[in-house]
Symmetry: C2
Subunit: 306 residues, 2 copies
Protein backbone atom coordinates (compact mmCIF):
# COMPACT_ATOMS: atom_id res chain seq x y z
CA UNK A 1 0.00 0.00 0.00
CA UNK A 2 1.33 3.36 -1.01
CA UNK A 3 1.64 6.15 1.54
CA UNK A 4 -0.17 9.41 0.77
CA UNK A 5 0.46 12.81 2.39
CA UNK A 6 -2.19 15.54 2.36
CA UNK A 7 -0.67 19.00 2.67
CA UNK A 8 -3.18 21.78 3.19
CA UNK A 9 -5.97 20.71 5.52
CA UNK A 10 -8.79 23.02 4.48
CA UNK A 11 -12.06 21.64 3.13
CA UNK A 12 -10.51 20.14 -0.02
CA UNK A 13 -7.64 18.36 1.75
CA UNK A 14 -9.78 17.01 4.58
CA UNK A 15 -12.58 15.86 2.24
CA UNK A 16 -10.52 13.99 -0.35
CA UNK A 17 -8.01 12.77 2.20
CA UNK A 18 -10.70 11.36 4.47
CA UNK A 19 -12.50 9.67 1.54
CA UNK A 20 -9.25 7.95 0.51
CA UNK A 21 -8.45 6.96 4.11
CA UNK A 22 -11.97 5.57 4.63
CA UNK A 23 -11.31 3.25 1.67
CA UNK A 24 -8.23 1.86 3.37
CA UNK A 25 -5.59 4.08 1.75
CA UNK A 26 -2.65 4.93 4.02
CA UNK A 27 -3.22 8.69 4.28
CA UNK A 28 -1.27 11.09 6.52
CA UNK A 29 -2.45 14.65 7.15
CA UNK A 30 -0.19 17.60 7.86
CA UNK A 31 -2.14 19.72 10.35
CA UNK A 32 -1.43 22.88 12.31
CA UNK A 33 -4.32 24.73 13.94
CA UNK A 34 -6.77 21.80 13.66
CA UNK A 35 -4.38 19.17 15.04
CA UNK A 36 -5.87 18.87 18.53
CA UNK A 37 -9.48 18.80 17.35
CA UNK A 38 -8.82 16.12 14.74
CA UNK A 39 -6.76 14.09 17.23
CA UNK A 40 -9.66 14.16 19.70
CA UNK A 41 -12.63 13.77 17.36
CA UNK A 42 -11.42 12.76 13.90
CA UNK A 43 -12.69 14.15 10.60
CA UNK A 44 -16.43 14.47 9.94
CA UNK A 45 -17.87 14.65 6.42
CA UNK A 46 -21.45 15.84 5.93
CA UNK A 47 -21.71 14.83 2.32
CA UNK A 48 -24.30 14.31 -0.39
CA UNK A 49 -22.27 11.19 -1.22
CA UNK A 50 -22.81 9.82 2.27
CA UNK A 51 -21.88 11.18 5.69
CA UNK A 52 -18.72 9.70 7.16
CA UNK A 53 -16.48 9.91 10.20
CA UNK A 54 -12.77 9.13 10.03
CA UNK A 55 -11.25 8.23 13.39
CA UNK A 56 -7.66 7.34 14.11
CA UNK A 57 -6.38 9.45 11.23
CA UNK A 58 -2.59 9.60 10.84
CA UNK A 59 -1.84 13.21 11.68
CA UNK A 60 1.44 15.10 11.93
CA UNK A 61 2.54 18.60 12.86
CA UNK A 62 5.59 18.75 10.57
CA UNK A 63 6.80 17.15 7.33
CA UNK A 64 9.92 15.91 9.15
CA UNK A 65 7.73 14.00 11.62
CA UNK A 66 5.71 12.49 8.73
CA UNK A 67 8.68 11.43 6.63
CA UNK A 68 8.78 10.14 3.03
CA UNK A 69 5.56 9.13 1.24
CA UNK A 70 4.79 7.82 -2.26
CA UNK A 71 2.24 10.48 -3.22
CA UNK A 72 1.89 14.05 -1.97
CA UNK A 73 -1.53 15.64 -2.54
CA UNK A 74 -1.33 19.45 -2.45
CA UNK A 75 -4.58 21.00 -1.27
CA UNK A 76 -3.59 24.35 0.12
CA UNK A 77 -4.31 27.74 -1.46
CA UNK A 78 -1.77 28.95 -4.01
CA UNK A 79 -0.94 31.72 -1.56
CA UNK A 80 0.96 29.09 0.48
CA UNK A 81 3.11 28.00 -2.47
CA UNK A 82 6.21 29.78 -1.07
CA UNK A 83 6.25 26.92 1.49
CA UNK A 84 6.87 24.20 -1.14
CA UNK A 85 10.66 24.24 -0.68
CA UNK A 86 10.23 23.80 3.06
CA UNK A 87 7.45 21.17 3.11
CA UNK A 88 7.97 18.92 0.07
CA UNK A 89 11.58 17.67 0.41
CA UNK A 90 11.14 15.94 3.81
CA UNK A 91 8.16 14.04 2.30
CA UNK A 92 10.09 12.77 -0.72
CA UNK A 93 11.97 9.64 -1.65
CA UNK A 94 13.38 9.44 -5.15
CA UNK A 95 10.10 8.37 -6.79
CA UNK A 96 7.57 10.40 -4.82
CA UNK A 97 4.85 11.87 -7.06
CA UNK A 98 2.97 15.09 -6.39
CA UNK A 99 -0.69 15.65 -7.32
CA UNK A 100 -1.90 19.23 -6.94
CA UNK A 101 -5.63 19.83 -6.49
CA UNK A 102 -5.16 23.61 -6.57
CA UNK A 103 -7.05 26.18 -8.63
CA UNK A 104 -5.62 28.23 -11.47
CA UNK A 105 -2.31 28.29 -13.26
CA UNK A 106 1.28 28.21 -12.07
CA UNK A 107 1.07 25.54 -9.37
CA UNK A 108 2.48 22.65 -11.42
CA UNK A 109 5.34 24.91 -12.54
CA UNK A 110 6.20 25.78 -8.93
CA UNK A 111 6.10 22.14 -7.80
CA UNK A 112 8.25 21.17 -10.80
CA UNK A 113 10.95 23.50 -9.47
CA UNK A 114 11.15 21.31 -6.36
CA UNK A 115 10.71 17.74 -7.66
CA UNK A 116 11.12 18.04 -11.45
CA UNK A 117 8.26 18.12 -13.98
CA UNK A 118 8.08 14.36 -14.57
CA UNK A 119 6.83 13.71 -11.06
CA UNK A 120 3.95 16.23 -11.17
CA UNK A 121 0.26 15.52 -11.84
CA UNK A 122 -2.72 17.85 -11.61
CA UNK A 123 -6.25 17.22 -10.41
CA UNK A 124 -9.10 19.67 -11.01
CA UNK A 125 -11.90 19.52 -8.44
CA UNK A 126 -15.47 20.29 -9.53
CA UNK A 127 -17.07 20.40 -6.12
CA UNK A 128 -18.81 22.60 -3.54
CA UNK A 129 -17.10 22.03 -0.18
CA UNK A 130 -16.90 24.18 2.89
CA UNK A 131 -15.19 23.92 6.21
CA UNK A 132 -17.96 23.98 8.83
CA UNK A 133 -15.59 23.97 11.81
CA UNK A 134 -12.26 22.35 12.72
CA UNK A 135 -12.35 18.80 11.32
CA UNK A 136 -15.89 19.19 9.92
CA UNK A 137 -16.46 19.51 6.16
CA UNK A 138 -19.75 20.08 4.35
CA UNK A 139 -20.12 18.72 0.79
CA UNK A 140 -23.18 20.12 -0.94
CA UNK A 141 -22.68 19.57 -4.69
CA UNK A 142 -20.44 18.01 -7.33
CA UNK A 143 -17.33 16.09 -6.31
CA UNK A 144 -15.58 15.02 -9.50
CA UNK A 145 -11.80 15.22 -9.87
CA UNK A 146 -10.19 15.32 -13.33
CA UNK A 147 -6.64 13.95 -13.15
CA UNK A 148 -3.86 14.26 -15.69
CA UNK A 149 -0.10 14.44 -16.22
CA UNK A 150 1.61 17.83 -16.08
CA UNK A 151 3.92 16.68 -18.90
CA UNK A 152 1.59 15.48 -21.68
CA UNK A 153 2.12 11.90 -22.75
CA UNK A 154 0.12 9.53 -24.93
CA UNK A 155 -0.65 7.16 -22.10
CA UNK A 156 -0.38 7.51 -18.34
CA UNK A 157 -0.76 4.33 -16.32
CA UNK A 158 -0.08 6.22 -13.08
CA UNK A 159 -2.81 8.84 -13.74
CA UNK A 160 -5.24 6.04 -14.68
CA UNK A 161 -4.34 4.22 -11.48
CA UNK A 162 -5.03 7.36 -9.43
CA UNK A 163 -8.43 7.71 -11.16
CA UNK A 164 -9.18 4.09 -10.20
CA UNK A 165 -8.18 4.66 -6.56
CA UNK A 166 -10.26 7.85 -6.30
CA UNK A 167 -13.33 6.10 -7.76
CA UNK A 168 -12.93 3.17 -5.37
CA UNK A 169 -12.95 5.75 -2.55
CA UNK A 170 -16.36 7.07 -3.70
CA UNK A 171 -14.90 10.06 -5.53
CA UNK A 172 -16.12 10.50 -9.12
CA UNK A 173 -12.99 10.88 -11.20
CA UNK A 174 -11.88 10.96 -14.81
CA UNK A 175 -8.64 10.98 -16.73
CA UNK A 176 -7.58 14.09 -18.65
CA UNK A 177 -5.21 13.57 -21.57
CA UNK A 178 -4.59 17.33 -21.74
CA UNK A 179 -4.27 18.86 -18.29
CA UNK A 180 -3.48 22.38 -19.54
CA UNK A 181 -6.63 22.46 -21.63
CA UNK A 182 -8.65 21.19 -18.65
CA UNK A 183 -7.13 23.97 -16.50
CA UNK A 184 -8.27 26.61 -19.00
CA UNK A 185 -11.69 24.96 -19.26
CA UNK A 186 -12.09 25.30 -15.49
CA UNK A 187 -10.95 28.94 -15.61
CA UNK A 188 -13.94 29.73 -17.87
CA UNK A 189 -15.97 29.59 -14.63
CA UNK A 190 -13.40 30.63 -12.01
CA UNK A 191 -12.13 33.81 -13.65
CA UNK A 192 -15.53 35.58 -14.00
CA UNK A 193 -17.40 34.20 -10.98
CA UNK A 194 -14.60 34.21 -8.40
CA UNK A 195 -13.53 37.56 -9.84
CA UNK A 196 -16.82 39.43 -10.00
CA UNK A 197 -17.84 38.11 -6.57
CA UNK A 198 -14.89 40.18 -5.28
CA UNK A 199 -15.11 43.08 -7.74
CA UNK A 200 -18.78 43.61 -6.84
CA UNK A 201 -17.89 43.76 -3.16
CA UNK A 202 -18.43 40.20 -1.91
CA UNK A 203 -21.64 38.89 -3.52
CA UNK A 204 -22.93 35.40 -4.29
CA UNK A 205 -23.36 33.99 -7.80
CA UNK A 206 -27.16 34.36 -7.82
CA UNK A 207 -26.85 38.11 -7.23
CA UNK A 208 -24.33 38.39 -10.07
CA UNK A 209 -26.72 36.64 -12.46
CA UNK A 210 -29.79 38.54 -11.22
CA UNK A 211 -28.34 41.71 -12.82
CA UNK A 212 -28.48 41.52 -16.62
CA UNK A 213 -25.58 43.96 -16.94
CA UNK A 214 -23.36 41.78 -14.74
CA UNK A 215 -24.50 38.62 -16.56
CA UNK A 216 -23.37 40.27 -19.82
CA UNK A 217 -20.01 41.02 -18.19
CA UNK A 218 -19.71 37.36 -17.02
CA UNK A 219 -20.34 36.24 -20.60
CA UNK A 220 -17.84 38.73 -22.04
CA UNK A 221 -15.13 37.58 -19.60
CA UNK A 222 -15.87 33.91 -20.38
CA UNK A 223 -15.54 34.71 -24.07
CA UNK A 224 -12.15 36.32 -23.40
CA UNK A 225 -11.01 33.19 -21.52
CA UNK A 226 -12.06 31.01 -24.48
CA UNK A 227 -10.16 33.39 -26.80
CA UNK A 228 -7.08 33.26 -24.57
CA UNK A 229 -7.14 29.47 -24.41
CA UNK A 230 -7.40 29.27 -28.19
CA UNK A 231 -4.47 31.67 -28.67
CA UNK A 232 -2.39 29.38 -26.45
CA UNK A 233 -3.47 26.32 -28.42
CA UNK A 234 -6.46 24.90 -26.51
CA UNK A 235 -9.72 24.78 -28.46
CA UNK A 236 -12.73 25.24 -26.14
CA UNK A 237 -16.26 25.04 -27.56
CA UNK A 238 -17.98 28.44 -26.97
CA UNK A 239 -21.17 26.49 -26.09
CA UNK A 240 -19.62 26.04 -22.65
CA UNK A 241 -20.61 29.63 -21.87
CA UNK A 242 -24.37 28.91 -21.95
CA UNK A 243 -23.72 25.63 -20.12
CA UNK A 244 -21.83 27.38 -17.30
CA UNK A 245 -24.41 30.16 -16.94
CA UNK A 246 -27.24 27.60 -16.66
CA UNK A 247 -25.29 25.40 -14.26
CA UNK A 248 -24.53 28.38 -12.05
CA UNK A 249 -28.20 29.43 -11.93
CA UNK A 250 -28.98 25.97 -10.49
CA UNK A 251 -26.43 26.55 -7.71
CA UNK A 252 -28.48 29.43 -6.23
CA UNK A 253 -26.61 31.58 -3.69
CA UNK A 254 -23.18 29.99 -4.18
CA UNK A 255 -20.13 31.59 -2.52
CA UNK A 256 -17.01 31.18 -4.71
CA UNK A 257 -13.93 30.29 -2.65
CA UNK A 258 -12.27 33.62 -3.50
CA UNK A 259 -15.30 35.54 -2.24
CA UNK A 260 -15.01 33.73 1.11
CA UNK A 261 -11.29 34.53 1.28
CA UNK A 262 -12.06 38.17 0.46
CA UNK A 263 -14.85 38.75 2.98
CA UNK A 264 -12.99 36.83 5.71
CA UNK A 265 -9.88 38.94 5.17
CA UNK A 266 -7.63 36.13 3.93
CA UNK A 267 -5.21 36.56 1.06
CA UNK A 268 -6.90 36.00 -2.33
CA UNK A 269 -5.29 33.67 -4.93
CA UNK A 270 -4.77 36.57 -7.34
CA UNK A 271 -1.78 35.27 -9.30
CA UNK A 272 -3.12 31.74 -9.85
CA UNK A 273 -6.63 32.71 -10.96
CA UNK A 274 -6.19 36.09 -12.67
CA UNK A 275 -2.52 37.19 -12.84
CA UNK A 276 -0.93 34.18 -14.52
CA UNK A 277 -3.81 33.49 -16.98
CA UNK A 278 -3.81 37.16 -18.05
CA UNK A 279 -0.03 37.13 -18.50
CA UNK A 280 -0.20 33.98 -20.64
CA UNK A 281 -3.08 35.41 -22.69
CA UNK A 282 -1.24 38.63 -23.47
CA UNK A 283 2.02 36.79 -24.25
CA UNK A 284 0.10 34.69 -26.78
CA UNK A 285 -1.21 37.87 -28.41
CA UNK A 286 -4.85 37.43 -27.40
CA UNK A 287 -7.09 40.49 -27.10
CA UNK A 288 -8.79 40.07 -23.70
CA UNK A 289 -10.04 43.50 -22.53
CA UNK A 290 -12.64 42.08 -20.12
CA UNK A 291 -10.06 39.88 -18.38
CA UNK A 292 -7.78 42.94 -18.10
CA UNK A 293 -10.42 45.21 -16.63
CA UNK A 294 -11.55 42.50 -14.19
CA UNK A 295 -7.98 41.97 -12.95
CA UNK A 296 -7.62 45.71 -12.40
CA UNK A 297 -10.89 45.86 -10.45
CA UNK A 298 -9.83 42.96 -8.21
CA UNK A 299 -6.42 44.49 -7.55
CA UNK A 300 -8.12 47.70 -6.49
CA UNK A 301 -10.38 45.79 -4.07
CA UNK A 302 -7.63 43.69 -2.51
CA UNK A 303 -5.07 46.47 -2.54
CA UNK A 304 -2.59 44.44 -4.54
CA UNK A 305 -0.42 45.96 -7.24
CA UNK A 306 1.56 43.74 -9.56
CA UNK B 1 -18.73 -11.11 -16.25
CA UNK B 2 -22.32 -10.92 -15.11
CA UNK B 3 -25.04 -9.84 -17.50
CA UNK B 4 -27.17 -6.86 -16.46
CA UNK B 5 -30.57 -5.88 -17.90
CA UNK B 6 -31.89 -2.33 -17.59
CA UNK B 7 -35.67 -2.18 -17.75
CA UNK B 8 -37.12 1.30 -18.02
CA UNK B 9 -35.06 3.50 -20.30
CA UNK B 10 -35.87 6.97 -19.01
CA UNK B 11 -33.15 9.23 -17.61
CA UNK B 12 -32.35 6.98 -14.61
CA UNK B 13 -32.07 3.76 -16.61
CA UNK B 14 -30.02 5.28 -19.42
CA UNK B 15 -27.71 7.16 -17.06
CA UNK B 16 -26.80 4.35 -14.66
CA UNK B 17 -26.89 1.70 -17.38
CA UNK B 18 -24.53 3.68 -19.61
CA UNK B 19 -22.11 4.39 -16.73
CA UNK B 20 -21.93 0.66 -15.92
CA UNK B 21 -21.51 -0.26 -19.61
CA UNK B 22 -18.77 2.35 -20.08
CA UNK B 23 -16.85 0.60 -17.29
CA UNK B 24 -16.99 -2.68 -19.19
CA UNK B 25 -20.08 -4.21 -17.55
CA UNK B 26 -22.19 -6.33 -19.88
CA UNK B 27 -25.35 -4.20 -19.89
CA UNK B 28 -28.44 -4.80 -22.04
CA UNK B 29 -31.15 -2.16 -22.42
CA UNK B 30 -34.81 -2.91 -23.04
CA UNK B 31 -35.97 -0.08 -25.32
CA UNK B 32 -39.20 0.74 -27.10
CA UNK B 33 -39.70 4.25 -28.52
CA UNK B 34 -35.99 5.18 -28.32
CA UNK B 35 -34.69 1.98 -29.95
CA UNK B 36 -33.92 3.41 -33.40
CA UNK B 37 -32.25 6.57 -32.08
CA UNK B 38 -30.01 4.65 -29.67
CA UNK B 39 -29.16 2.09 -32.34
CA UNK B 40 -28.07 4.89 -34.70
CA UNK B 41 -26.37 7.25 -32.26
CA UNK B 42 -25.85 5.50 -28.92
CA UNK B 43 -26.41 7.05 -25.49
CA UNK B 44 -25.07 10.51 -24.65
CA UNK B 45 -24.46 11.67 -21.08
CA UNK B 46 -23.99 15.38 -20.40
CA UNK B 47 -22.83 14.95 -16.84
CA UNK B 48 -21.16 16.89 -14.06
CA UNK B 49 -19.20 13.66 -13.48
CA UNK B 50 -17.86 13.80 -17.03
CA UNK B 51 -19.60 13.75 -20.41
CA UNK B 52 -19.67 10.37 -22.09
CA UNK B 53 -20.95 8.64 -25.20
CA UNK B 54 -21.83 4.94 -25.22
CA UNK B 55 -21.81 3.39 -28.68
CA UNK B 56 -22.57 -0.19 -29.61
CA UNK B 57 -24.92 -0.60 -26.64
CA UNK B 58 -26.67 -3.98 -26.40
CA UNK B 59 -30.30 -3.05 -27.05
CA UNK B 60 -33.41 -5.17 -27.32
CA UNK B 61 -37.08 -4.62 -28.08
CA UNK B 62 -38.45 -7.44 -25.91
CA UNK B 63 -37.42 -9.41 -22.81
CA UNK B 64 -37.70 -12.65 -24.84
CA UNK B 65 -35.15 -11.36 -27.32
CA UNK B 66 -32.81 -10.35 -24.47
CA UNK B 67 -33.06 -13.63 -22.53
CA UNK B 68 -31.79 -14.47 -19.02
CA UNK B 69 -29.43 -12.13 -17.18
CA UNK B 70 -27.78 -12.21 -13.75
CA UNK B 71 -29.03 -8.84 -12.52
CA UNK B 72 -32.15 -6.90 -13.51
CA UNK B 73 -32.08 -3.18 -12.72
CA UNK B 74 -35.60 -1.72 -12.58
CA UNK B 75 -35.64 1.96 -13.56
CA UNK B 76 -39.16 2.58 -14.77
CA UNK B 77 -41.83 4.59 -12.95
CA UNK B 78 -43.91 2.66 -10.43
CA UNK B 79 -46.87 3.26 -12.73
CA UNK B 80 -45.39 0.55 -15.02
CA UNK B 81 -45.21 -2.04 -12.23
CA UNK B 82 -48.21 -3.98 -13.64
CA UNK B 83 -45.76 -5.10 -16.38
CA UNK B 84 -43.47 -6.98 -13.94
CA UNK B 85 -45.17 -10.35 -14.56
CA UNK B 86 -44.72 -9.93 -18.30
CA UNK B 87 -41.17 -8.54 -18.38
CA UNK B 88 -39.24 -10.15 -15.51
CA UNK B 89 -39.70 -13.93 -16.07
CA UNK B 90 -38.06 -14.06 -19.55
CA UNK B 91 -35.02 -12.29 -18.04
CA UNK B 92 -34.58 -14.76 -15.18
CA UNK B 93 -32.54 -17.84 -14.53
CA UNK B 94 -32.85 -19.43 -11.12
CA UNK B 95 -30.41 -17.05 -9.40
CA UNK B 96 -31.22 -13.76 -11.14
CA UNK B 97 -31.26 -10.83 -8.70
CA UNK B 98 -33.39 -7.71 -9.10
CA UNK B 99 -32.27 -4.23 -7.99
CA UNK B 100 -34.97 -1.58 -8.10
CA UNK B 101 -33.94 2.07 -8.37
CA UNK B 102 -37.54 3.27 -8.08
CA UNK B 103 -38.96 5.93 -5.80
CA UNK B 104 -41.32 5.38 -2.90
CA UNK B 105 -42.74 2.29 -1.23
CA UNK B 106 -44.28 -0.91 -2.57
CA UNK B 107 -41.86 -1.68 -5.40
CA UNK B 108 -39.79 -4.33 -3.60
CA UNK B 109 -43.02 -6.00 -2.48
CA UNK B 110 -44.32 -6.18 -6.06
CA UNK B 111 -41.03 -7.58 -7.38
CA UNK B 112 -40.97 -10.12 -4.54
CA UNK B 113 -44.29 -11.47 -5.84
CA UNK B 114 -42.52 -12.40 -9.08
CA UNK B 115 -39.06 -13.61 -7.97
CA UNK B 116 -39.37 -14.09 -4.21
CA UNK B 117 -38.11 -11.64 -1.56
CA UNK B 118 -34.62 -13.14 -1.19
CA UNK B 119 -33.63 -12.07 -4.69
CA UNK B 120 -34.65 -8.40 -4.29
CA UNK B 121 -32.39 -5.42 -3.53
CA UNK B 122 -33.22 -1.73 -3.47
CA UNK B 123 -31.18 1.26 -4.60
CA UNK B 124 -32.13 4.84 -3.74
CA UNK B 125 -30.89 7.47 -6.19
CA UNK B 126 -30.01 10.93 -4.94
CA UNK B 127 -29.53 12.64 -8.26
CA UNK B 128 -30.88 15.30 -10.63
CA UNK B 129 -31.21 13.71 -14.08
CA UNK B 130 -33.36 14.66 -17.02
CA UNK B 131 -33.98 13.19 -20.43
CA UNK B 132 -32.96 15.90 -22.92
CA UNK B 133 -34.08 13.94 -25.99
CA UNK B 134 -34.08 10.29 -27.13
CA UNK B 135 -30.78 8.77 -25.93
CA UNK B 136 -29.56 12.03 -24.38
CA UNK B 137 -29.45 12.46 -20.59
CA UNK B 138 -28.50 15.55 -18.62
CA UNK B 139 -26.97 15.08 -15.14
CA UNK B 140 -26.85 18.34 -13.20
CA UNK B 141 -26.45 17.41 -9.52
CA UNK B 142 -25.90 14.57 -7.06
CA UNK B 143 -25.54 11.02 -8.32
CA UNK B 144 -25.20 8.78 -5.27
CA UNK B 145 -26.99 5.43 -5.04
CA UNK B 146 -27.63 3.82 -1.65
CA UNK B 147 -27.93 0.04 -2.04
CA UNK B 148 -29.34 -2.49 0.41
CA UNK B 149 -31.09 -5.83 0.78
CA UNK B 150 -34.89 -5.91 0.79
CA UNK B 151 -34.73 -8.65 3.44
CA UNK B 152 -32.55 -7.24 6.23
CA UNK B 153 -29.49 -9.34 7.07
CA UNK B 154 -26.42 -8.67 9.18
CA UNK B 155 -24.06 -8.84 6.23
CA UNK B 156 -24.64 -8.71 2.49
CA UNK B 157 -21.68 -9.59 0.29
CA UNK B 158 -23.81 -9.17 -2.84
CA UNK B 159 -24.95 -5.64 -1.92
CA UNK B 160 -21.35 -4.73 -1.04
CA UNK B 161 -20.22 -6.10 -4.39
CA UNK B 162 -22.83 -3.99 -6.21
CA UNK B 163 -21.60 -0.91 -4.34
CA UNK B 164 -18.07 -1.73 -5.49
CA UNK B 165 -19.15 -2.15 -9.13
CA UNK B 166 -21.15 1.11 -9.11
CA UNK B 167 -18.20 3.02 -7.64
CA UNK B 168 -15.82 1.56 -10.22
CA UNK B 169 -18.25 2.88 -12.87
CA UNK B 170 -17.91 6.44 -11.51
CA UNK B 171 -21.17 6.30 -9.57
CA UNK B 172 -20.90 7.36 -5.90
CA UNK B 173 -22.52 4.55 -3.92
CA UNK B 174 -22.93 3.38 -0.36
CA UNK B 175 -24.27 0.36 1.43
CA UNK B 176 -27.45 0.61 3.50
CA UNK B 177 -27.91 -1.93 6.27
CA UNK B 178 -31.56 -0.90 6.65
CA UNK B 179 -33.21 -0.30 3.30
CA UNK B 180 -36.68 0.41 4.72
CA UNK B 181 -35.31 3.15 6.93
CA UNK B 182 -33.40 4.61 3.97
CA UNK B 183 -36.64 4.59 1.94
CA UNK B 184 -38.43 6.58 4.65
CA UNK B 185 -35.46 8.95 4.93
CA UNK B 186 -35.73 9.68 1.20
CA UNK B 187 -39.51 10.21 1.51
CA UNK B 188 -38.84 13.10 3.92
CA UNK B 189 -37.98 15.07 0.77
CA UNK B 190 -40.12 13.38 -1.89
CA UNK B 191 -43.47 13.51 -0.10
CA UNK B 192 -43.58 17.28 0.49
CA UNK B 193 -41.64 18.58 -2.53
CA UNK B 194 -42.96 16.22 -5.22
CA UNK B 195 -46.39 16.60 -3.63
CA UNK B 196 -46.65 20.36 -3.23
CA UNK B 197 -45.15 20.93 -6.68
CA UNK B 198 -48.33 19.25 -7.96
CA UNK B 199 -50.77 20.53 -5.33
CA UNK B 200 -49.69 24.11 -6.03
CA UNK B 201 -50.35 23.61 -9.74
CA UNK B 202 -46.95 22.65 -11.17
CA UNK B 203 -44.33 24.86 -9.53
CA UNK B 204 -40.59 24.49 -8.92
CA UNK B 205 -39.01 24.05 -5.49
CA UNK B 206 -37.70 27.64 -5.29
CA UNK B 207 -41.25 29.00 -5.66
CA UNK B 208 -42.46 26.67 -2.90
CA UNK B 209 -39.74 27.93 -0.53
CA UNK B 210 -40.20 31.59 -1.53
CA UNK B 211 -43.62 31.53 0.20
CA UNK B 212 -43.25 31.34 3.97
CA UNK B 213 -46.69 29.75 4.33
CA UNK B 214 -45.76 26.95 1.92
CA UNK B 215 -42.35 26.52 3.60
CA UNK B 216 -44.19 26.01 6.89
CA UNK B 217 -46.38 23.39 5.18
CA UNK B 218 -43.26 21.64 3.79
CA UNK B 219 -41.85 21.49 7.32
CA UNK B 220 -45.13 20.22 8.79
CA UNK B 221 -45.33 17.44 6.19
CA UNK B 222 -41.69 16.49 6.78
CA UNK B 223 -42.41 16.30 10.48
CA UNK B 224 -45.36 13.97 9.76
CA UNK B 225 -43.09 11.73 7.67
CA UNK B 226 -40.56 11.54 10.53
CA UNK B 227 -43.45 10.71 12.90
CA UNK B 228 -44.74 8.01 10.54
CA UNK B 229 -41.30 6.45 10.16
CA UNK B 230 -40.87 6.35 13.92
CA UNK B 231 -44.28 4.71 14.43
CA UNK B 232 -43.19 2.00 11.99
CA UNK B 233 -39.89 1.53 13.81
CA UNK B 234 -37.40 3.76 11.95
CA UNK B 235 -35.80 6.51 14.01
CA UNK B 236 -35.01 9.57 11.86
CA UNK B 237 -33.26 12.58 13.40
CA UNK B 238 -35.60 15.64 13.09
CA UNK B 239 -32.49 17.72 12.23
CA UNK B 240 -32.88 16.34 8.70
CA UNK B 241 -35.73 18.84 8.17
CA UNK B 242 -33.45 21.89 8.36
CA UNK B 243 -30.84 20.02 6.31
CA UNK B 244 -33.33 19.24 3.54
CA UNK B 245 -34.73 22.78 3.45
CA UNK B 246 -31.23 24.24 3.13
CA UNK B 247 -30.18 21.69 0.52
CA UNK B 248 -33.28 22.44 -1.53
CA UNK B 249 -32.65 26.19 -1.45
CA UNK B 250 -29.26 25.50 -3.04
CA UNK B 251 -31.00 23.61 -5.89
CA UNK B 252 -32.74 26.80 -7.09
CA UNK B 253 -35.60 26.20 -9.57
CA UNK B 254 -35.62 22.40 -9.34
CA UNK B 255 -38.43 20.45 -11.03
CA UNK B 256 -39.33 17.33 -8.99
CA UNK B 257 -39.93 14.29 -11.22
CA UNK B 258 -43.62 14.17 -10.24
CA UNK B 259 -44.07 17.81 -11.25
CA UNK B 260 -42.70 16.98 -14.72
CA UNK B 261 -45.05 13.98 -15.00
CA UNK B 262 -47.95 16.17 -13.93
CA UNK B 263 -47.37 19.10 -16.29
CA UNK B 264 -46.55 16.78 -19.21
CA UNK B 265 -49.79 14.85 -18.66
CA UNK B 266 -48.18 11.52 -17.67
CA UNK B 267 -49.49 9.34 -14.87
CA UNK B 268 -48.12 10.42 -11.47
CA UNK B 269 -46.62 7.79 -9.09
CA UNK B 270 -49.35 8.43 -6.53
CA UNK B 271 -49.42 5.06 -4.78
CA UNK B 272 -45.63 4.72 -4.39
CA UNK B 273 -44.94 8.22 -3.07
CA UNK B 274 -48.12 9.17 -1.18
CA UNK B 275 -50.69 6.33 -1.10
CA UNK B 276 -48.60 3.50 0.33
CA UNK B 277 -46.65 5.64 2.86
CA UNK B 278 -49.91 7.14 4.14
CA UNK B 279 -51.48 3.71 4.43
CA UNK B 280 -48.49 2.37 6.39
CA UNK B 281 -48.47 5.46 8.64
CA UNK B 282 -52.16 5.12 9.54
CA UNK B 283 -51.85 1.35 10.07
CA UNK B 284 -49.03 2.02 12.54
CA UNK B 285 -51.27 4.43 14.43
CA UNK B 286 -49.36 7.61 13.55
CA UNK B 287 -51.15 10.96 13.51
CA UNK B 288 -50.18 12.52 10.18
CA UNK B 289 -52.78 15.19 9.25
CA UNK B 290 -50.47 17.07 6.87
CA UNK B 291 -49.66 13.92 4.89
CA UNK B 292 -53.41 13.20 4.70
CA UNK B 293 -54.37 16.63 3.48
CA UNK B 294 -51.53 16.66 0.93
CA UNK B 295 -52.65 13.30 -0.48
CA UNK B 296 -56.20 14.60 -0.83
CA UNK B 297 -55.02 17.74 -2.64
CA UNK B 298 -52.91 15.68 -5.08
CA UNK B 299 -55.79 13.30 -5.77
CA UNK B 300 -58.00 16.27 -6.58
CA UNK B 301 -55.40 17.63 -9.01
CA UNK B 302 -54.72 14.36 -10.80
CA UNK B 303 -58.37 13.25 -10.73
CA UNK B 304 -57.51 10.03 -8.92
CA UNK B 305 -59.72 8.58 -6.19
CA UNK B 306 -58.51 5.70 -4.09
Amino acid sequence: MERIAIIGAGAVGLYYGARLALNGEKVSFLLRSDYDTVEADGIHLESIHGDAHLTGARIFRSPQEMGPVDLIIVAWKATSNPLFEEVIPPLCHENTQVLTLQNGLGNCERISEVVGPDRVLGGLCFVCLNRLSAGHVGHTAGGKVTIGEWQPQPDSPRASELVRRFKAANIPAELSRDLKEAQWRKLVWNIPFNGLSIAEGGVTTDKLLADSGIEAEVRAIMSDVVTAAEAIGHKIDPDVIDFEINRTRSMAAYRPSSMIDYIEGREVEFDAIWGEPLKQALQAGARVPHMESLAARIQKRIGKLQ
